[in-house]
């Protein structure tokens, strides 16, 4: 969490620096939704396409979009995720393996602005740190994500976004992958470009 705050402060500092050149929009938002493991702990001998997706988990978090330069919006984020346990019958006995608990923080680069006026799309990609833990296993590695968001502004200074993204945590030569679908609510703290 401290690192997230540091990132947020860095982004804010960048924003204030860029303010000399033009209007800066700073917002704060919360989001929540679904997160689904992809191609994790699958059995290839009896594989069907639906097996590619693990038990659905949940994700919540906060984002601080800072629109400081014309093309990109920089968005520090912090998210927590929780994945369901998985039950499997092995050797005639039913066993349950705990799902991961995840914490991640990082920075998204959004093409355009997620909280602009009207109804709009915004692609984005992000880089951060993700920690996945469950009994007997811990992964604490660099995380990547990219996705597409749809934003609309139902009232002044408030915007609603729906995002679909693909996220992965690099584990050496391989990765743990997830698809996320979230809904977020953002409130603009400034009267800059992002405050419409």
């Amino acid at each position: 969490m401290k690192r997230f705050l540091a990132l947020a402060l860095l982004a804010s500092a960048m924003a204030s620096g860029a303010a000399q050149a033009g209007p800066v929009g700073v917002s704060i938002g919360v989001f929540g939704g679904l997160s689904v493991p992809v191609l994790q702990d699958v059995s290839t001998s009896s594989f069907s396409p639906s097996d590619a997706f693990g038990p659905t988990g949940s994700q919540i978090g906060v984002r601080v979009p800072v629109h400081a330069i014309p093309v990109f919006t920089l968005e520090p984020y912090y998210a927590k995720s929780n994945y369901k346990d998985r039950t499997d019958t092995i050797g005639g006995i039913s066993y349950t393996r705990a799902g991961f608990d995840g914490k991640s923080y990082g920075l998204n680069a959004i093409l355009g602005s997620p909280d602009g006026s009207g109804f709009h799309f915004f692609p984005y990609f992000g880089l951060g740190k993700t920690k996945l833990t469950r009994t007997g296993e811990e992964i604490n590695k660099t995380g990547y994500n990219f996705g597409l968001g749809i934003g609309m502004s139902p009232a002044q200074k408030i915007s609603v976004q729906v995002r679909g993204e693909f996220a992965m945590v690099a584990t050496g030569d391989t990765s743990r992958k997830f698809t996320n679908a979230t809904v977020g609510l953002t409130y603009s703290l400034t009267s800059g470009k992002g405050a419409k």
Binding site: V38, L39, Q40, D41, V42, S43, T44, S45, V71, D88, I90, G91, G92, I93, Y95, T96, R97, A98, L111, G112, P123, F125, R134, T135, G136, E137, Y144, F146, M168, A170, T171, G172, D173, T174, S175, R176, K177
Partner: protein, 185 residues
């Protein structure tokens, strides 16, 4: 939006160049173990495993990068009135020891898992989460070498369940070795 196309194209190229980082997955392979017992420190029985007999392993062996999760599962019955701490050892070359001391003296022997305590005259099915915590670092490394094959190992090894100390008499039923391997697709 058209002016952003180059950024999206560059991002796509970058992700594709990540190769198997993006196109990878975790494959779970279950190896059923025969029922076996250890009636005393000089009455142990090994179980030889040949990973190559498992189709899922053979199909993914060349793409194997790491072991992400492991578990020894099964129903442990303590046939003695005193509690037993069960350990699983492996010899990376196949062997047929019946004496625990001689088995542990084998230069390729490594403690793989344990201890898992079973109360006297009790039967206990191990929990998957608890089992995942009981693997030793050295055991996991040895198992990974065997799984990777090549010069590191041939995928054949022998597992022994023994008591950590003293005399013991226990049996294991419905046993399984579960490996979750990281593979590049």
């Amino acid at each position: 939006m058209r002016r952003y196309a180059w950024v999206i194209a560059a991002l796509g190229l970058g992700l594709m160049s990540a190769g198997c980082i993006l196109t990878s997955g975790q494959v779970q392979i279950d190896f059923d173990l025969p029922n076996f017992s250890a009636t005393s420190p000089t009455g142990i029985v090994g179980t030889t495993i040949d990973l190559n007999t498992e189709k899922e392993y053979k199909d993914n062996k060349d793409k194997l990068k790491d072991l992400s999760d492991l578990a020894v599962l099964g129903k442990f019955t303590n046939n003695s009135a005193t509690p037993v701490d069960v350990e699983v050892w492996m010899t990376t070359t196949t062997s047929t020891y019946t004496d625990a001391t001689l088995m542990k003296a084998d230069p390729t022997a490594v403690k793989l898992w344990g201890p898992f305590q079973v109360a006297g005259s009790a039967t206990k099915t191990i929990d998957w989460n608890a089992s995942a915590q009981l693997f030793t670092v050295a055991g996991k490394a040895a198992l990974l070498n065997e799984a990777k094959g090549g010069s590191l190992g041939d995928g054949k090894f022998t597992l022994y369940a023994v008591g950590a100390a003293g005399t013991y008499n226990f049996s294991v039923a419905n046993g399984a070795l579960v490996l979750v391997i990281d593979v590049g697709i």
